[in-house]
């Protein structure tokens, strides 16, 4: 029986979020808050492993109160329990302070039920760093396995896991002792539509909520902005490109013009005989 904990985050949908041109900051009202897509795949993988090997899936998130919605989304996917740590002391955290806070919560969860595997998405679509997962692993002193795109097997008796870790030009097949932490690629699985029972369960589900006070022995100097070695000193809108030259005329005139532009670089081209 495995106890798997997935660390997740609620993020603005950065695919459609807009900049406020007057203030040069993100207009959070322009995009809905969603479960970080990579984390959704992490939860799905946890649920699949639960179905394969037996056990329970808990999810953990650090965020403001609306993050409860992201936890409910995880219950829809098939998670059994959800924990939210929320406190103004956590605000302004960079990845080091975030991994600290999440680790303290994981240790508290582990005291309730020992953890066999921690799983999270490779990165968030707002922070874009991918640093929190390995940070948690280091703090828990368990092996971090990043960019995982396949879980080959888990052997609970002998306490090991075999996974594929994605490289630029292929993958490593890694064997690791348990417990460990996996950060996963989206391609690891496809998320099916939620089942009706899970949806109903999610609608009724109330997560367990902890504040900084509930995390025993927490060192407040390591939380939030105070606990963050990095700070954002400047934010600006990327330079708007001036736009390209639009080729004019009929299609054949446009193609002719384009061809002459491209032929200036003709040494690059390796034209094959047309077969297809």
């Amino acid at each position: 029986m495995l106890h798997i904990v997935a660390c997740i985050k609620q993020v603005p949908d950065t695919k459609i979020i807009k900049m406020n041109p007057k203030t040069n900051t993100m207009d959070r009202s322009s995009a809905p808050a969603i479960l970080n897509p990579y984390d959704a795949h992490a939860v799905e993988e946890a649920v699949r492993l639960k179905n394969r090997y037996g056990g329970t899936v808990s999810v953990l998130t650090m965020g403001p109160p609306p993050a409860v919605k992201a936890i409910k989304k995880c219950v829809e996917i098939g998670a059994d329990e959800g924990y939210l740590i929320t406190d103004r002391f956590f605000a302004g955290a960079d990845t080091l302070a975030t991994s600290y806070s999440l680790t303290m919560a994981l240790q508290k969860i582990a005291r309730i039920q020992p953890i066999d595997l921690v799983i999270c998405g490779k990165m968030t679509i707002d922070g874009d760093t991918g640093q929190v997962g390995p940070g948690i692993a280091r703090r828990l002193d368990i092996p971090p396995l990043t960019s995982v795109n396949k879980v080959v097997e888990i052997n609970q008796e002998e306490g090991f896991i075999v996974i594929h870790r994605k490289l630029e030009d292929g993958h490593q097949v890694l064997h690791s002792s348990l417990p460990c932490l996996l950060s996963v690629e989206k391609e690891i699985n496809e998320i099916p539509y939620s089942t009706l029972p899970n949806m109903l369960r999610a609608a009724r589900y109330k997560p367990i909520i902890w504040s900084a006070n509930d995390l025993e022995d927490i060192d407040r100097s390591l939380l939030g902005l105070k606990g963050s070695p990095t700070i954002v000193s400047k934010i600006w809108a990327p330079e708007k490109p001036k736009g390209g030259e639009m080729l004019q005329g009929s299609s054949s005139e446009q193609v002719e013009r384009l061809l002459s532009i491209l032929l200036e670089k003709k040494e690059l081209f390796d034209v094959k005989e047309a077969k297809a």
Partner: protein, 340 residues
């Protein structure tokens, strides 16, 4: 922490099977600028098995010093071995800055090291500078999926660290005459103590899949309508010897493998020519290809944002334009032989 003790700019030298990753050479170029501005040495940290011969290359590409960790325990990348080398080297020699390629390995390694050293790490930096007055590393990067740029500082912790994607910085022209110091170091690790093992490394058979090294890319987007429609991209790319790229939408729709994805969550590319066909031009895509030498956009929608980020644009139907272009190409390039 006595920050004055920390001196020197380092680059983690990533290597695979005896070949230094190009991003590491690029970072030596960037690191050289930072080191010169600070008036401090530039060092490469080279970790691997049987990699000693690579140390001189690191020097030729700009390093004054190479810290060499050469042992069979480093044969394949593992977090637990490589991070031990970087952490011990850092604690012993105290660099003020360490740069890593933002590769699968580099990001994994940097994240672990930053946590153990309790210091700051900025991911996927696209601009690096050092402040003349206070000596702080200014690492800038796109955030919120590419919608904004942010500059990150690490004021009170050392070393200041950053990861940088390939093709963002530029390597120096190698100088065979450059001299440098090679300092051999080791870590006290035994294979039996380790918790991870690399059972196998599977490399993709065709070298053609390295999109980030392509000179010409033909990329397609949702505008091609279907997987069948996307075949036009394969045909065009095949015709001119280009590699196939794709937008995130196309990859998520399953029309093409994720290896082809260009963008913030895909690959950053720097080809000499980039064709964006049926791609609307969402910022996540743009940040992955905006530094291409020549960007040609073809799209039915005159208002598509891609036209703001290209050099030349054609408003038109790809299914009409591209076949015409292919034919014209064939004629022009083969026609030349006739004129002798």
């Amino acid at each position: 922490m006595n920050m004055e003790e920390y001196c020197g700019v380092w680059v983690f030298i990533e290597q695979n099977e005896g070949r230094i990753a190009s991003v590491s050479l690029e970072l030596l170029g960037a690191g050289r600028k930072l080191a010169d501005k600070r008036g401090v040495p530039l060092a490469g940290v080279l970790v691997g098995d049987g990699v000693k011969p690579l140390a001189s290359i690191v020097i030729q590409y700009g390093a004054d010093i190479v810290y060499l960790y050469d042992d069979v325990i480093f044969k394949e990348y593992r977090s637990e071995t490589y991070m031990r080398a970087i952490i011990e080297c850092s604690e012993k020699y105290k660099p003020e800055i360490i740069l890593y390629g933002a590769t699968s390995t580099g990001k994994d390694l940097a994240s672990a090291v930053a946590t153990d050293l309790a210091t700051g790490l900025t991911a996927d930096s696209t601009i690096l500078d050092v402040n003349e007055e206070n000596g702080l590393l200014e690492a800038s990067r796109p955030a919120f999926g590419g919608n904004i740029m942010a500059t990150i500082l690490c004021k009170n912790h050392r070393p200041q660290m950053a990861t940088v994607r390939s093709k963002v910085m530029k390597a120096l022209v190698p100088d065979a005459a450059k001299v440098g110091e090679i300092i051999e170091e080791s870590v006290a690790l035994k294979e039996d103590d380790l918790r991870t093992k690399v059972l196998e490394v599977v490399r993709v058979a065709t070298p053609k899949i390295r999109l980030d090294e392509a000179d010409i890319i033909v990329a397609g987007g949702k505008g091609l309508g279907s997987q069948k429609g996307f075949e036009l991209i394969h045909a065009f790319a095949g015709k001119i010897g280009a590699m196939v790229g794709a937008s995130r939408d196309v990859v998520e729709a399953g029309w093409v493998d994720h290896h082809h994805q260009v963008g913030q969550t895909g690959v950053t590319v720097l080809p000499k020519i980039y064709f964006a066909i049926g791609i609307s031009g969402a910022i996540q895509h743009i940040v992955g290809m905006q530094n291409s030498g020549l960007i040609i956009a073809i799209n039915k929608d005159p208002l598509a944002p891609i036209f703001q980020s290209c050099h030349y644009g054609i408003v038109g139907d790809a299914f009409e334009i591209v076949p015409m272009l292919m034919e014209a190409f064939e004629k022009a390039l083969h026609g030349e032989v006739q004129y002798g």
